[in-house]
């Protein structure tokens, strides 16, 4: 949340608020790249016993950058990979806002994927527009259902959502396997697979792989922002997260809101799954694997649960995912380095706040820290009141 300061010229205040918003993240990214470079050089010398090559990191990073932004293709590929991270990240972020630590985006994503396939198969003979809308809705509903259950359990029995969502992730895997092997199996498939989504496949509108799901995801950002900051429901969500007791006094029904928020979070993760199936793979098989659900937690943390921040974080992660393959292909650096760099970014981001605080640099305000505090409360705190 930016905090308009009164009494300065609007341009100056916009520039300074934008700068104070991006300076730290930018520095964090750069420092992470530097440490990543050190790891690349050291590991190549120590483990592979290669001669010392100070340009190796540059080779790697340029391959990474080219893979993510080097051409129209690669930009589209970045956007395609950003899409599910963004949608699921928004869901996790909204959960954080309400003080809920939803580790279940993974399961909600998978159920969204299955749900959209199921509906797509059912709507195979309808016009494409109807089939697409129905399949997307199917994914959203399935994901929402998977978020609803932990929400309901928390609201009724107080069962900790950290536990229940972890468990729901694994149960989703089993349900997915059962559906693909059982009721939804395409006859004749040697390895169990569902039929293709057929007419429900999302139209490709950008280059070779840019499906319209990209636009849905980016459209979700202002919607989520509006929901959180411009509607009464969003106010209630944030209030419950920041102070459940005061929220209760304000007339919010925390239990109902927990269920609602978990459902919204699940719906967004489910939509992420739906766009992935309908836009990318077009079919679900039992070997479908993904790490979107877990990555989206990092995205939400990095974006501090603010839809705009989440968008930036998702783009960053999407770009890194898009560039990772080319980095391995062209520079021989294992793709896992990207995970490490992502962790470093997060590390420097929070350590940076500390360094600034220690050095008494400006730009650390009370508001800046509270974005994080709400997240921790979501773990230990009581939300049902």
């Amino acid at each position: 949340m930016s905090r308009p300061s009164e009494g300065r010229s609007p341009v100056a205040s916009i520039v300074s608020s934008v700068w104070s918003l991006i300076a730290v993240p930018l520095l964090a990214v750069l420092m992470a790249l530097v440490v990543g470079a050190v790891v690349i050089v050291l590991s190549s010398v120590l483990v592979l016993k290669n001669p010392f090559d100070p340009t190796l990191p540059l080779t790697a990073y340029s391959a990474l950058a080219l893979g993510a932004f080097g051409s129209y293709d690669s930009v589209v590929s970045t956007l395609v990979l950003t899409t599910p991270l963004l949608l699921a990240g928004l869901g996790v972020g909204i959960g954080f806002r309400a003080g809920l630590f939803n580790i279940g985006a993974q399961g909600q994503f998978l159920m969204g994927a299955v749900g959209s396939v199921a509906v797509a198969v059912w709507f195979a003979h309808t016009p494409a527009v109807i089939a697409i809308i129905a399949a997307l809705l199917g994914g959203m509903i399935a994901g929402a259902a998977w978020g609803f259950v932990p929400g309901l359990l928390k609201a009724t029995s107080g069962a900790h959502e950290v536990v229940t969502t972890i468990m729901m992730n694994y149960i989703a895997l089993a349900v997915l396997a059962w559906i693909v092997i059982g009721p939804l199996r395409q006859p004749g498939s040697v390895s169990p697979a569902t039929p293709s989504v057929g007419v429900a496949a999302l139209p490709i509108v950008l280059d070779r792989s840019g499906h319209i799901g990209i636009f849905i995801a980016f459209l979700a950002v202002p919607i989520a922002w509006f929901l959180l900051f411009r509607t009464t429901r969003g106010f209630e969500i944030r209030a419950v997260g920041a102070n459940p007791d005061a929220a209760r006094y304000a007339g919010v029904k925390p239990r109902r809101l927990i269920v609602l928020t978990m459902s919204i979070a699940g719906m967004l993760a489910g939509l992420a799954g739906a766009t992935t199936i309908l836009g990318v793979t077009h079919q679900m098989n039992t070997t479908f694997s993904t790490s979107v659900g877990f990555d989206s937690i990092t995205v939400a943390l990095l974006g501090r649960s603010n839809p705009i921040g989440v968008m930036v974080a998702a783009l960053l992660f999407g770009a890194m995912r898009a560039g990772a393959g080319p980095m391995q292909i062209n520079a021989g650096i294992p793709v896992e380095l990207v995970d490490f760099i992502q962790a470093l970014i997060l590390l420097f981001l929070i350590a940076n706040v500390a360094l600034r605080r220690l050095l008494r640099l400006r730009g650390v305000s009370g508001a800046e820290q509270t974005g994080f505090e709400t997240i921790t409360r979501s773990y230990g705190g009581e939300t049902t009141g």
Binding site: R3, R233, A239, N243, A246, Y249, A250, G251
Partner: protein, 529 residues
């Protein structure tokens, strides 16, 4: 060690004071909490530190106890300069402190709390809680009270918890005892017991710093009184040579009216009627045990009582935050038993919660959001699901101006405000508009005199325009000053209703302490006269 009361201040200035604090200065951003404070403490002396809330007493004691680091100044014990970098240093030098907010761990037992940090060990690894319990029982017995060492602290009453705190000091055999507002939550009789205890300890040669803002108490217990105001030492007095009025002037800095003019009340229709109300606390114990009362428009009913007698639960039940076990609550004739906070709020009930940071405010949220906390969902602040930021901001600016909330902007988080301004923020929200009933729980707790005066004035104003006011306060003086009628709450019941203008403070105190007292107790049905 020789002991005895120093008869005069001169006698107290023995060659080597037990404790000496010289030129203690502590600055926080924007405020100097302690400004070159000098303080000395003789062996066997009870030295009162008198000052308003926020005068810097607690900061000074935190410095003594190592919880805060002074910017300047020196501390000497038995004439030797010492460095106190943390509580462990303080404890090692025989300093112990009872903090204003209890430093007890609710989920641990009494024995565990008492021994924590000075554990009685069976061997180098394991505790000997049995031996500790034995010693606790013995200590408690010596000073004439009983405590189950195995009971969990969370199951104790506030008064019992205070005893645990004092036990902690005794268990460590402290030589310098600091008590920060120890009587705030005690009944007069409990206070008297504590005073006896403190005198015994002083006789025993222990030195005691007694922090308070209650003039009478200080006059009663102290051998010497140091008054501080705005971080500075204003004066030092001997109780025999001063009086309450002088102390009050020293403390506040101007001649104060000890009572405010509340004017006459003109009761109208019955606004709140409570019949046979029973409420349970968080642990399931019934703490409100059959309360009947009535409040009319245009009158203030003050509930006096020692903290922990069910007042908080009663208030929470009235505003819908706590389930009603049985009984009936009606607002202006309408049954609202078990209604939600929102329903009650919509019936024009204002509520100032006892714990403002818990129920009253969402600290990370801007003032604007906090000002519409109970009305964010309805016009003009929202149309359907959509908030109207413009209307919210405009209303916030108005109320901030009207209620004199000191803030750089209505968009800063509430947590950046001082306590007094936070409370004004709540008042600005809850006092607005056409109020049927105001429920005020400790409305001035922890505030400076200016804020207290401001809020008291507003309460009277609301009454004068016809609102019914339910005032719950642990400050008996506050109840006495403001109330048209006074009810005394004891162990979950309203044991007496008195006329606010004629009530005798000592009679009320007795009722608070024992649930029964003197003659002249009015009818206990609670109906307005």
């Amino acid at each position: 060690m020789t002991s005895g009361f120093p008869a005069t201040a001169d006698a107290a200035r023995a060659p080597v004071p037990k404790l000496e604090m010289r030129g203690i200065t502590k600055r926080y951003p924007g405020v100097t909490a302690n400004d070159h404070i000098d303080l000395d403490l003789q062996p066997g002396e009870i030295h009162a530190l008198l000052g308003e809330n926020g005068a810097g007493k607690t900061t000074l004691m935190n410095i003594l106890y190592g919880l805060a680091v002074p910017d300047e100044g020196q501390i000497l014990i038995d004439g030797t300069p010492v460095r106190i970098a943390g509580p462990s240093d303080a404890i090692a030098r025989g300093i112990e402190m009872v903090h204003q907010h209890f430093m007890l761990i609710p989920v641990l037992s009494v024995a565990e709390n008492v021994v924590l940090g000075a554990e009685t060990m069976a061997n180098p690894i394991f505790l000997d809680l049995r031996e500790a319990s034995r010693r606790i029982r013995k200590l408690a017995g010596k000073f004439g009270f009983e405590l189950d060492p195995d009971a969990k602290v969370q199951s104790l009453s506030v008064g019992q918890q205070q005893r645990v705190e004092i036990l902690k000091m005794l268990y460590r055999d402290a030589q310098i005892l600091v008590l920060d507002e120890p009587t705030a939550v005690l009944t007069p009789s409990e206070t008297e017991e504590i005073f006896v205890l403190l005198r015994n300890l002083a006789k025993d040669g222990r030195s005691i710093i007694f922090i308070s803002h209650k003039l009478q108490e200080v006059l009663e217990i102290a051998d010497r009184i140091t008054v501080i105001r705005r971080g500075r030492v204003i004066g030092e007095r001997i109780p025999a040579k001063t009086n309450a009025k002088e102390l009050a002037e020293l403390m506040v800095g101007r001649a104060v009216l000890l009572t405010i003019d509340r004017g006459q009340s003109h009761p109208t229709d019955v606004r709140l009627k409570v019949e046979g109300l029973r409420v349970r606390d968080d642990r399931g114990g019934e703490v409100v045990r059959g309360v009947d009362l009535e409040i009319r428009g245009g009158e203030i009913l003050g509930i006096a009582g020692v903290a922990g007698n069910g007042q908080d639960e009663l208030v929470e039940a009235l505003v819908g935050l706590r389930k009603v076990a049985s009984g009936r609550v009606s607002l202006a004739g309408r049954d609202v038993t078990g209604a939600s906070p929102r329903t009650i709020n919509e019936a024009n009930v204002g509520y100032v919660p006892g714990d403002r940071q818990r129920f009253g405010l969402i600290l990370p949220f801007p003032l604007t959001d906090n000002l519409v906390l109970t009305s964010y969902y309805k016009p003009p602040f929202a149309h359907g699901l959509i908030r109207d930021e413009g209307a919210i901001l405009a209303a916030a600016r108005d109320r901030i101006r009207e209620y004199d909330v000191r803030t750089p902007s209505p968009l800063v988080p509430a947590q950046t405000l001082s306590g007094g301004n936070q409370q004004k923020l709540i008042v600005a929200r809850e006092f607005v508009g056409d109020t049927t009933l105001l429920v005020l729980d400790q409305p001035t707790r922890g505030l400076d005199v200016g804020s207290i005066e401001f809020i008291h004035k507003r309460i009277i104003e609301k009454r004068n325009v016809g609102a019914a006011v339910l005032l719950v306060s642990a400050e008996l003086d506050e109840v006495m000053e403001l109330s048209d009628r006074i009810a005394v709450m004891y162990r979950g019941k309203l044991v007496a209703f008195l006329d606010g203008r004629t009530a005798d403070k000592y009679q009320v105190g007795l009722l608070m302490a024992t649930g029964e007292g003197g003659s002249g107790v009015a009818d206990a049905t609670g109906s307005a006269s």
